[in-house]
Amino acid sequence: MNTRGWTPITKIENIALREGRAVKVGDTEIAIFRLDHRYLTIENKCPHKGGPLCDGIVSGTTVVCPLHGQRFDLETGMPVLASQPGCVAIFPTRVEEGVIFVDLGSASKGQEEVAA
């Protein structure tokens, strides 16, 4: 479990528009996405077969895993199809002076809060 709180990750220009980028912080690998003027962060691991979600195609506010096409909502971490197993953790994200901060301690997954 990551004990860090708000952590500066990278400058906004390092994330391409409508794409994701993976960042490893300690033991956690996160994927940060840029949608127009919003930045959203999820855990970079598809619960299906571990695919790198950062490399998926973004469709609206969802991302499609590049390996087998599982689809997750970037805002909630929930799978788009109810028949799909598992969801991914999401992390609160904000931008300050051109730097993306992620609150690594407040990951939440599905309905439950993952305790920091």
């Binding site: 860090r4 709180g5 708000w6 952590t7 500066p8 990750i9 990278t10 220009e13 390092n14 994330i15 391409a16 528009l17 409508r18 794409e19 980028r21 993976a22 960042v23 490893k24 912080v25 077969k49 571990g50 695919g51 790198p52 490399d55 998926g56 195609i57 973004v58 469709s59 609206g60 499609v64 590049p66 390996l67 096409g69 730097v99 901060f101």
Partner: protein, 803 residues
């Protein structure tokens, strides 16, 4: 002796009326005066000429031959300046007099030029005639700052046409919303969003106070004090009936020349038709009522009697592809007793509003989805009691019986508003000429040849009436952009769309998905021969980093080895790379190449640099490889130099994208050691000739390739290969392998349109291939100039700090 009929005005209304007269009577000797020098053309399509979708020739309705065939005297470029009603003569600008027994005034209308200081400056234009259009086309060029004054139908169409030509267009409109005469505020807002998403700026409400500039216009000054730079200004602020001739002759004229229900003016020998008229206080600016007027006038003037013209309920359709707007009837919801039923979906850009009074439809506004226009128009025309339809009024069910909609239409209903073709005309033509195809309907009736919005209805008519009608089957790309590949190619080309985002924002749901984004990326690349705005976010990861993603998120690297031929030096570098990056597996592929598996994304640029080889495109829907045998160079059976030909073939086509992966093989004799007959394209060497075979497969399905052609020289073989390759690129659906494509289209048709095509057509295919090839480059060069700073970089977090 024949009676003299003189028509003043050679526009749509006048000539359409003459066509009707000719159907009913041959008692007249007809003379037509036109102050424009052109034969009769379809004015409402000028915006398509401006946008480059049609040429001036395409919009000619009646060519000179037509006038000759019907013994009509034409005096083009001659302006009529007066009428002497006593003597029954018209007087032209040179003083010449022409006698008439009956006179038809069809003088049309002119652009209204608002009294703004500076409208007389250079580069201030109106948009009304073919000559106006030509003048605008001469001025239009990429980057030209252009202002269109007027946000009505014509202004928006002009704006789009100029923007397609590359101009930076701003529409300036006096009112709060666009097309306020046809739309309500919500509809206007939806329209504004669509127009803006096309890349046109919209300023409203904005009153132009003056045009400034020294001699030529430099910009607009608004009443608010703001200014807008503009090197070209188009005024589309409405039209005014050309009624002067009537007024000076002493006819009753208010806004237009006043006509009765039989299109007669206050002088029984003089009739008027079209936009110059005023009927029961109404003037006209749209095409459909003019055809009705023409029919009534023809019956009246020939003495056949017939229906009266009782006015027209307004109906307007915007002719900008992808911006579907239709409005008809009364849209005033403040009228007592009017109920409105509405539906809107902002994501789809769809807005529907129906105005119902006493359970009858009396007006509609349709934005973004005008599919049901004809159902609604019929309800409105016939005053259908809507009680049984109320539950489904916004989405009238598409009948399980496809002929039903057609059967519901009376023969008199207009199918093609642009050309005034009625249902009955089409049915008559189908029977008279044995028409079985849409092309036949177009040729026989001119329906569906203009804006194309009645194409669906014409097809339905054909299906219902023609026993052996063959419907074209079309595959829709996906629900994000619900169009067929054919339509999307046309849309991208016609609307000059250069990026996936543009296509999705104008024609789709603005989101796209993993299915349509890569497909649109391909279509844009193909249509623009590589000269488009590449958007990596629309591509699958393999095409973002030019390597093939593996199950653990690492990538495989396959360098190009043309024809499967390598060198000791290349092999040494491959071995060194495998050592240096601890490549977990090095594998010889089935395509005569070497695969380095398990490479990290961040290492890709370094690996490519160390290899010093070209991308083998093993990760993409593109030209994979040419597999060859050793041919005459070493093989004792070889009859053709297959390695040399294979290397050349690969060099010609490498780095290009295709609808699906594209594998080739070249063999030096029919023993077929490199399996050319199960490749997308194969060259099979024979004694003194090459067989070119296409559409082979040895994957999920196995299919022996079809023979395209046999040729004598290697150069001919390569050209035939190029032709098929480009034809497949342009006509296959995305993700359609060549073997499915060949089966779907049929090898005979493919032969006719490639190797047996006229030289000019072949040259066009080859030219487009050459253009694409010129733009294509080795993707691995992005190791030096990445598309994005972190395309390959593993981002390291900034130093962790608690906040």
């Amino acid at each position: 002796m024949k009676r003299q009929l003189v028509v003043v005005g050679n526009g749509m209304a006048g000539v359409a009326c003459v066509e009707q007269i000719l159907k009913q009577s041959h008692d007249f000797e007809i003379t037509i005066f036109g102050d424009e020098t052109h034969a009769n053309y379809n004015r409402i399509l000028l915006s398509l000429v401006l946008a480059g979708e049609k040429s001036p020739d395409d919009i000619v309705i009646n060519d000179i031959e037509w006038y000759q065939t019907h013994d009509i005297r034409t005096r083009l470029g001659v302006k009529i300046t007066g009428i002497n009603r006593e003597k029954r003569v018209v007087i032209d600008e040179h003083g010449g007099e022409t006698e008439y027994d009956k006179l038809i005034l069809a003088t049309g209308s002119s652009a209204f030029i608002p009294p703004i200081p500076g409208v007389d400056k250079k580069n201030v234009h109106v948009f009304r005639t073919l000559d106006d259009t030509r003048a605008l086309l001469e001025k239009a060029r990429p980057g030209l700052k252009t202002a269109v004054i007027g946000g009505g139908l014509l202004g928006l169409e002009a704006a789009r046409g100029l923007q397609v030509r590359g101009c930076e267009v701003t529409v300036v409109h006096l009112m709060e919303t666009l097309m306020e005469r046809q739309l309500d505020a919500t509809g206007g807002e939806y329209l504004k969003r669509k127009i803006e998403s096309l890349g046109i700026r919209v300023m409203l409400p904005q009153q132009t106070a003056a045009l400034f500039g020294n001699g030529r216009v430099d910009g607009l000054r608004f009443a608010s004090g703001e200014e807008l730079e503009a090197d070209l200004v188009v005024i589309a602020a409405g039209i005014r009936p050309n009624a002067e001739l009537g007024r000076n002759a002493g006819l009753e004229v208010r806004r237009g020349i006043v006509v009765n229900d039989y299109m007669a003016t206050s002088d029984p020998h003089i009739f008027a038709v079209g936009e110059c008229t005023e009927h029961r206080g109404q003037t006209f600016g749209l095409v459909a009522p003019l055809f009705d007027q023409g029919r009534v006038l023809a019956s009246a003037i020939t003495g056949n009697g017939g229906p009266a013209f009782t006015g027209a309920s307004p109906a307007a359709k915007l002719k900008i592809m992808g911006v579907d707007i239709f409005s008809a009837g009364s849209i005033d919801e403040s009228e007592p007793g009017v109920e409105t039923v509405r539906y809107e979906d902002p994501a789809l850009g769809t807005y529907k509003k129906l105005l119902v009074k006493d359970n009858r439809l009396q007006g509609m506004i349709l934005v973004g989805d005008i599919e049901d226009e004809h159902v609604y128009m019929e309800w409105m025309r016939s005053g259908t009691d809507l009680t049984p339809h109320r539950r489904q009024i916004l989405f009238p069910p598409r009948d399980a019986d496809p002929g039903r909609e057609v059967a519901d239409m009376p023969d008199s209903e207009t199918v093609c508003g642009c050309n005034g073709v009625r249902k009955g005309d089409i049915i008559q033509a189908i029977h008279a000429h044995g028409i079985t195809t849409l092309a036949g309907v177009k040729e026989g009736t001119r329906a569906s040849t203009s804006c194309g919005s009645c194409t669906g209805l014409c097809e339905k008519l054909l299906r219902a009436v023609t026993p052996d009608f063959q419907e074209e089957t079309r595959t829709t790309l996906c629900s994000c952009v619900p169009f067929s590949y054919e339509q999307l190619r046309d849309i991208i080309r016609g609307q000059k769309l250069k990026s996936v985002e543009e296509v999705l924002s104008v024609y789709g749901n603005r989101k796209g998905c993993e299915v349509c984004k890569p497909a649109l990326s391909y279509l844009l690349d193909m249509v623009w021969c590589g000269d488009h705005d590449e958007d990596r976010s629309a591509r699958f990861i393999n095409d973002r980093v030019h390597a093939n993603i593996q199950k653990d998120g690492t990538f495989s690297v396959v360098p190009r080895m043309r024809g499967g031929v390598t060198t000791p030096d290349e092999l040494r570098r491959i071995a060194d790379v495998a050592d240096k990056y601890r490549v977990p597996m090095v594998k010889v592929t089935g395509s005569q190449r070497i695969d380095l598996l398990g490479i990290k994304k961040a290492d890709l640029p370094k690996v490519w640099a160390d290899l010093g080889m070209l991308s083998g495109q093993a990760y993409t829907k593109g030209v994979r490889m040419v597999k060859t045998c050793v041919g005459t160079e070493f093989c004792r059976f070889g009859v053709q130099d297959s390695t040399r030909a294979g290397i050349e073939l690969e060099r010609r086509l490498e780095n290009l994208f295709t609808p699906h992966k594209f594998k080739m093989g070249v063999v030096g004799c029919p023993r077929n050691c490199a399996e050319a007959t199960v490749k997308d394209l194969g060259m099979v060497g024979q004694e003194g000739s090459w067989q070119i075979v296409v559409g082979g497969a040895a994957g999920k399905s196995v299919r022996k390739a079809d023979l395209l052609i046999t040729v004598e020289t290697t150069e001919q073989a390569l050209e035939a290969s190029d032709l098929f390759f480009q034809y497949y690129r342009e006509n296959a659906n995305y993700l359609e392998r060549s073997y499915d494509f060949v089966e779907r289209v049929g090898i005979e048709k493919i032969r006719k349109e490639t190797v047996y095509a006229p030289e000019a057509d072949k040259k066009k295919l080859l030219d487009r291939l050459a253009r694409s090839k010129e733009m294509a480059k080795d993707a691995w060069l992005e190791r030096e100039t990445p598309a994005h700073p972190t395309q390959f970089v593993q981002i390291q977090p900034m130093e962790a700090q608690r906040s």
